[in-house]
């Protein structure tokens, strides 16, 4: 691979990453938010679970959910703003000779990396507080939830150009996941299986409590992630092609 060719391949993803990380506050929040959420969810949810018979929610399970949601929500917002702020830059890349498929690939790669960083930060904050029984699978569950939300962010950012309306749309998923369809409030309705973190939270709480969980739940999570990523890629490709 010639130096020029490799530069052509690596410049856009590097540029997209820099776009996010040159803002110091983004980095600060990436660390501070998981700490606050893990603490708040851990403390609050363990107290709430005492009130419901049939729900066992320990402090550690609350903290694990805090880590999962912080990684997921941070990645979702990152994915959304990357898309909504990308229009002008991507238009220039397509004009400069990049194929829309390449641009979509670069964006996906960037979101994958950012999602991994957000997951890693949340995961490190979590294991600083307690040691999950299965370290690798705990990270995988958090990362899958983050990937799903990244894709949701891309999808929303591709379909809704306005930042205000897009933020409201992202809010829909956050509130539904964390406050309405979550296991925390004793919700048992099957309607909520379609929420992005329904199965990841089920798997993570079971693993944290060292309880058995149905392995098919992993399959559901992977299928969900694949479908949302495919939809997000297609939506973004259509937008990029139209440019």
């Amino acid at each position: 691979m010639s130096a020029r060719h490799s530069e052509r391949l690596f410049t856009p993803p590097g540029m997209f990453l820099r776009e996010y990380y040159r803002n110091t506050l983004n980095l600060v929040l990436l660390v501070v938010i998981p700490i606050l959420l893990i603490q708040s969810f851990g403390s609050a949810l363990s107290r709430l679970a005492d009130l419901f018979s049939g729900i066992t929610m320990t402090l550690n399970m609350g903290k694990a959910l805090g880590a999962l949601w912080s990684a997921a929500f941070l990645s979702g917002i990152m994915g959304f703003f990357m898309m909504s702020g990308a229009r002008e830059a991507d238009r220039r890349l397509v004009r400069a000779g990049y194929h829309p498929v390449q641009v979509v690939g670069f964006r996906l790669l960037t979101v994958v990396v950012l999602g991994a960083i957000a997951s890693m930060v949340s995961y490190i904050m979590l294991i600083m507080q307690f040691m999950p029984s299965n370290l690798a699978l705990t990270f995988v569950a958090i990362y899958l939830a983050a990937s799903i939300y990244s894709a949701v962010g891309i999808l929303v950012g591709s379909l809704i150009p306005g930042e205000l309306e897009g933020s409201f749309a992202m809010l829909f998923f956050f509130v539904m996941d964390a406050f309405i369809g979550s296991p925390l409030f004793g919700t048992t309705s099957e309607v909520f299986v379609l929420l992005p973190t329904y199965y990841p939270t089920k798997i993570l709480t079971a693993m944290t409590a060292q309880r058995a969980h149905d392995p098919v739940h992993w399959l559901y999570v992977v299928i969900y992630a694949a479908v949302v990523i495919a939809l997000a890629s297609y939506a973004f490709y259509r937008v990029a092609r139209l440019r």
């Binding site: 506050l25 959420l37 969810f41 709430l48 205000l164 309306e165 309405i180 309705s189």
Partner: protein, 252 residues
């Protein structure tokens, strides 16, 4: 001056009203969240410390009622906070030009705060109306006020954030601050024994005390908290004003 104010307010309102998706989401999200909170919460009861005179009385309340009541401030603070942030964020560029064109920074600030306040009133009215379909608070008017205050507080906080931060950082802050403050730390579904000092400093501490009182007590006992919440909102408005004035003046 009054004509300029009316014109600027009308233009600012029109900017949002001509966006149908914004209207749909603004009107659609509160009923969705609040109704689903009532429907999805298991039919259990919870002991809740309700203000009574100078002390507190533990009452047993329905879990769906409490979750439904709490979803109102959660919904309004999220929506108003994000809206307040974007009102100021999108105004940053345009308002600089308006200042150069002769508009006073104070007038422009008033317009932004009025837009945030009016929207907060609309969101709160809608949210409280939806709540009434499933449950009746004990003191309706004060319950409305207990929900309007966090809406305005978070709207003004959003304005402060939107004056200086980027859209991404600002959205992070507004999402997670509302989530931690209104959704978790102040949430009476998670009983608290000792309220720590930093919890009392958060925006929704005083409004939540008023909300619990007006939801489940027939007599109003939390006047000092109501006053505290109003003062908190006034301080946020002053801070938002000072920062906005500085931001606009710096770029004249």
């Amino acid at each position: 001056m009054q004509r300029e104010f009316s014109l600027a307010t009308l233009m600012a309102a029109r900017q949002y009203l001509r966006n149908p998706l914004f209207i749909i989401l603004l009107i659609g999200l509160p009923p969705t969240f609040i109704t689903l909170a009532f429907i999805s919460t298991p039919d259990a009861t919870i002991p809740l410390a309700v203000p009574e005179g100078a002390g507190q009385l533990v009452r047993v309340v329905s879990m769906p009622d409490l979750h439904g009541a709490i979803m109102v401030p959660i919904t309004v603070s999220f929506l108003s906070g994000i809206l307040g942030m974007f009102v100021m964020f999108s105004a940053r560029q345009g308002d600089r030009r308006l200042v150069i064109a002769g508009y006073a920074p104070l007038l422009l600030l008033s317009v932004r705060l009025v837009v945030i306040t009016i929207t907060s009133i609309l969101i709160t009215s809608l949210s409280v109306s939806i709540t009434l379909l499933s449950w009746q608070p004990q003191q309706l008017a004060l319950f409305f006020l207990a929900n309007l205050l966090p809406a305005i507080q978070y709207g003004f906080l959003g304005a402060i954030v939107g004056t200086y931060l980027s859209a991404t950082s600002g959205t992070y802050l507004m999402f997670f601050l509302s989530m931690i403050d209104v959704g978790l730390v102040q949430n009476p579904m998670f009983p608290r024994e000792d309220v720590q000092f930093w919890v009392k400093m958060l925006p929704d501490y005083a409004p939540m005390e008023v909300l619990i009182d007006t939801s489940f007590s027939a007599k109003f006992n939390t006047g000092s908290f109501l006053l505290g919440a109003v003062l908190y909102a006034a301080i946020l408005a002053v801070v938002a004003g000072a920062l906005f004035r500085r931001a606009v003046s710096l770029h004249r």
